[in-house]
């Protein structure tokens, strides 16, 4: 009870504090002489945003960029040494390769299935319920999702019998190499699958299983946004196509998809950026062990576990550099869409 009251006090204090700072600045500006005052009217409104964006984000980004070419103590210039180390060290290189797989596999499946659901759910009875069920995992944390899925991939460590996937695979009589043996399979630990073992620099099957968690958790966003876009396609266009004798599939491919191209690009880049920064899922499911690390996870490990400041900064830079083409691509598609309208 006391704890609760203290928390309420803290919350109120925090909020009142911010309001007070705003009002003080506002009052000060209004005491200035008229001519000067006009020029500074915007200050109390935008000052916090500017401090947060410039002081918090921009300056920090520059500092990280600088730190990435310095050694771990931040004193000695090492050029591209940290970047070279990321590539030369097996673990971090695998993390980079894994991240590429996350972006391509995760994004294409998420957007693809999202589009499929959005299309077939459109106008069907119970559309809202079905879409809500598919959307719900979005409201669940990625950590929660990682834990939830450990009950599906459950490993021998705590009891492989408790895992749904092992039960399904055994019921389907899949061969030993696919986990159908009497022993079951430690899904998140084993990298090979179906007799194939990936080389140490390549992503394993367990990385794909982690991506499945991400897809499960993110598909709702893609579905909802795409669904709204599909509903926005003008009736006249669709009816014209139908009257011309186009089948439902042809109408969808030739009319709907081109019309919602801009939205598809936005959703694709949102999901791609999300999968590039995959950290929570990995942290909760494997902690990045068994060759499942990603750039974002490696960043965390390098900085907080291994105290490698320079390398961590370089990993953050790699993340930034990989975000860039995604954003640029989205801008280009949007511009083209605006031009054609």
């Amino acid at each position: 009870m006391e704890d609760l009251l203290r928390n309420i006090g803290l919350i109120t204090g925090g909020v009142v504090g911010f309001a007070a700072i705003f009002l003080i600045i506002y009052a000060l500006i209004n005491r200035l002489p008229r001519g000067v005052r006009e020029k500074f009217q915007a200050v109390p409104f935008i000052i916090f945003a500017l401090i947060f964006a410039i002081g918090g984000l921009m300056v920090s980004a520059v500092r990280t960029a600088i730190a990435s070419v310095l050694d771990d103590t931040g004193k000695k210039f090492v050029g591209l040494g940290n970047y070279r180390e990321i590539w030369n060290e097996l673990d971090s290189r695998l993390a980079v390769v894994n991240s590429f797989v996350w972006v391509f596999v995760g994004t294409s499946i998420t957007v693809g299935i999202g589009l499929l659901i959005a299309r077939f759910a459109d106008g069907m009875r119970g559309e809202r319920i079905a879409k809500t069920l598919i959307f719900l995992p979005v409201a669940i944390s990625l950590v929660g999702a990682g834990i939830t899925w450990r009950f599906i991939y459950a490993e021998k460590g705590f009891s492989f019998d408790a895992g749904l996937l092992n039960a399904v695979v055994r019921a389907a009589h899949l061969p030993n190499s696919m986990g159908g043996g009497p022993e079951g399979r430690n899904w998140l630990l084993e990298r090979g699958f179906g007799g194939l073992t990936p080389p140490s620099w390549a992503p394993g099957f367990n990385t794909l299983l982690l991506i499945v968690i991400f897809i499960w958790a993110q598909i709702g966003i893609a579905t909802v946004v795409l669904s709204a876009a599909i509903k926005g396609v003008p009736q006249e266009l669709l009816e014209a196509a139908v009257i011309d004798g186009a089948t439902s599939n042809e109408t969808f491919v030739k009319v709907t998809i081109p019309y919602i191209k801009g939205t598809i690009a936005t959703v694709t880049s949102l999901v791609a950026l999300g999968s590039l920064k995959a950290f929570d899922t990995v942290a909760a499911a494997t902690g990045g062990r068994f060759g499942t690390s990603t750039i974002a996870n490696e960043f965390f490990v390098k900085f907080f576990v291994q105290d490698r400041n320079g390398v961590a900064a370089a990993l953050a830079m790699v993340l930034f550099v990989l975000c860039f083409p995604i954003v640029v691509w989205n801008r280009r598609v949007q511009r083209r869409v605006e031009e054609t309208n």
Binding site: D3, L4, N7, L10, I11, G14, F22, K39, P44, F45, I46, F48, A49, F52, A53, G56, S60, R63, T64, A67, F120, A121, G123, M124, A130, L133, V138, A139, S141, V143, G144, A145, I147, F151, I152, G157, F158, S159, D161, A162, L164, W216, V224, V225, G232, V242, S248, F252, L276, K277, F279, A283, A284, A296, A312, L315, A316, M317, L319, F320
Partner: protein
């Protein structure tokens, strides 16, 4: 087969009725419908499994799959929830961490929505030099991944800001404090919140704002008495978005809050990390941690979806 037959029927009806009702009917063939419901079902299985597990005794959770519960429905217990929600000393109680999550999330949401609303008003309705340029600068921060800013902001909280030996900002002793988490969350969510709110607030009818200004209302009055009440849908959508995002966050909470502010999400990772012992508790804890954002989302679904759609779908 039935798909084409259905289509033909739909098409004939379309042509007969010509213009009018939704053409969407043509897409919901039976196979499409079955596919959607199968996926919807599949999508609920993982969460349902955790839900069922959370009512099973420890020994059962660890030895058999949750679906076997239905073979022995008498093996039912509230003890997982009891231990998770208990507050006694030395208990496994996670309610403390649940409370931490509220303590982190609520002020962070209020601060970031407040800062974003103020900025959205400033950038939309106050004329000043360099306005568009500054706004673009804030938007440009959308592409900077959180990881790039994490360490420098952490350094700021653990020692102020210095260039060489010159102190630009003093050390505020905010490391591992909940205030640091609030500010960090507000910083990271800012570009997106401003983007969404500026779209809305900037699109309010010019005549209304100008009429208020001509009548002598100050910017503060216009903002609080006019813009805020008119922007409730936008404020709600950004607030819900931020709430779900911050509640579900792991990285920021664990990096800035220190051990005494650990949110429930971070605590769950800690418990999973400690191998095996507490899986039965994790089910209940996991479910409790999901209930809050899911309830917020379901209650405010309309706003949430609208917030997601802002700027990405036209008309």
């Amino acid at each position: 087969m039935s798909e084409t037959a259905g289509l033909k029927r739909v098409r004939q009806r379309r042509v007969k009725e010509s213009m009018g009702t939704s053409i969407a009917a043509s897409a919901h063939t039976r196979s499409g419908r079955i596919l959607v419901w199968m996926l919807a079902l599949l999508w609920t299985v993982p969460t349902f499994g955790v839900f069922v597990s959370s009512f099973r005794p420890e020994a059962d959770v660890k030895s058999t799959g949750w679906w076997t519960f239905f073979l022995h429905p008498t093996h039912f217990t509230f003890s997982n929830y009891n231990s998770v929600l208990s507050t006694g000393p030395g208990s496994d109680g996670l309610s403390h961490f649940l409370l931490n999550s509220f303590r982190i999330t609520i002020p962070s949401v209020i601060i970031s929505v407040g800062v974003a609303a103020l900025a959205a008003y400033g950038f939309s309705w106050i004329e000043f030099k360099g306005r568009d340029w500054l706004y673009s600068l804030i938007l440009a921060m959308l592409i900077v991944p959180l990881q790039m800013c994490l360490i420098p902001i952490l350094r700021f909280f653990t020692g102020g800001m210095h260039i060489g030996s010159t102190t630009i900002f003093p050390y505020l002793h905010l490391d591992s404090s909940v205030v640091a988490v609030w500010i960090a969350h507000s910083i990271f969510g800012l570009p997106f919140s401003i983007f969404l709110m500026k779209n809305f607030i900037g699109a309010l009818p010019r005549e209304i704002i100008e009429a208020a200004r001509v009548d002598g209302a100050s910017h503060l009055t216009t903002f609080t008495k006019l813009v805020i009440p008119l922007s409730v849908p936008s404020i709600a959508s950004v607030a819900i978005f931020q709430f779900v995002y911050i509640w579900n966050d792991y990285l920021v909470g664990v990096v800035f809050g220190g051990s005494k502010n650990t949110p429930i999400i971070a605590k769950m990772v800690e418990v999973t990390g400690s191998r095996g012992q507490s899986w039965h508790l994790l089910t209940a804890a996991g479910f409790v941690s999901m209930v809050v954002p899911v309830a917020v989302f379901l209650a405010m679904q309309r706003f949430f979806v609208r917030g997601l759609l802002a700027g990405s779908v036209k008309g």
